[in-house]
Subunit: 151 residues, 2 copies
DNA sequence: AAATCGAAGGTCAGTAATGGTCAAACGAAA
DNA sequence: TTTCGTTTGACCATTACTGACCTTCGATTT
């Protein structure tokens, strides 16, 4: 459990407690709270709270500046899942595949074990990130996601 | 009893003692414990903790990195099913794919709905019976069978 | 109104901390 | 002697974290 993980969990907890699926934070203050440099907060936000994972970040600089984190509306869950599936497209790198799996997991479209299975199978069957491999990876990923979503 | 065997036994013992059929290890730390190079751990994992033997490996590099080992639930009829899975091979025609699906159905490895889903998805994604299409069909079929078998 | 200042947040490159890969050497069994 | 599983180490890839420097924006001063 790294510092980045701790900050990630803290933000997610605050989002769960929030009324409107969004919270505002002060970068400097949060950095102070976790005894780290402010840019560490940016690192957590850019690696963990991406659009693919279902978050939107809005911020303002200057005096009274802030960072606001939105969790996408669960009402649109189905649409998001379908959209996410389409976003996989024809070709994905290994890292991109992981992001997609995490995104499906975040949406509770699939569970943790299914993620492990799919990831493991992809790693076993698809090695490297050549264009051909990326295409095969996308095909396999979509096929496996398809069955777990629909069965 | 080689070093690889010792490490294998150690990991299996820890899995037995674990609550959720999974443990996390530090590659460097485990290597230190057994007085060997870190890559020896990879050797043990890739030779002894494969999917075929019922294990899944997940890992993360970088600071706070780890290796997590999951034990899959051992199933009845596992040998037959695994064998059938391997028989799919690298290339299957549409008719052959249907036969494999029926065979899995006979073994109650998958259910009717899953068969329909897989068949429909294959028909949608793979057209024709050229060698290239047959290879893609085999890949997708195995990927989808894999997830429904193991999840 | 324009210039300036201070208080936010943003970016990026560098360093450290992990784990991954692969080919060669080794060694026991056939 | 050959073969095949084991072991090693050099080199690679990924992730976490930091700090110097940059940009933006509101408020204050000229």
């Amino acid at each position: 459990m790294t510092l980045a993980d701790l900050i990630e969990n803290y933000i997610k907890q605050r989002l769960l407690n929030s009324k409107d699926q969004s919270i505002a934070i002060s970068r400097a203050q949060l950095a102070e709270q976790f005894r780290c440099v402010p840019s560490q907060i940016n690192y957590v936000l850019t690696t963990r709270f991406t659009i693919e994972r279902g978050y939107i970040i809005e911020s303002r600089r200057g005096g009274g500046g802030y960072i606001r984190i939105f969790r996408l509306d669960p009402k649109e869950r189905e649409n998001l899942i379908v959209q996410l599936f389409h976003e996989i497209g024809q070709s994905v790198s290994e890292a991109a595949a992981d992001n997609f799996l995490d995104a499906f997991l975040e949406l509770s479209a699939i569970n943790r074990k299914q993620v492990q299975l799919i990831r493991a199978y992809l790693q076993q069957e698809v090695v490297g990130n050549s264009e051909e491999q990326d295409r095969l990876r996308a095909s396999l990923l979509k096929a496996m996601i398809f069955v777990v979503l629909n069965q």
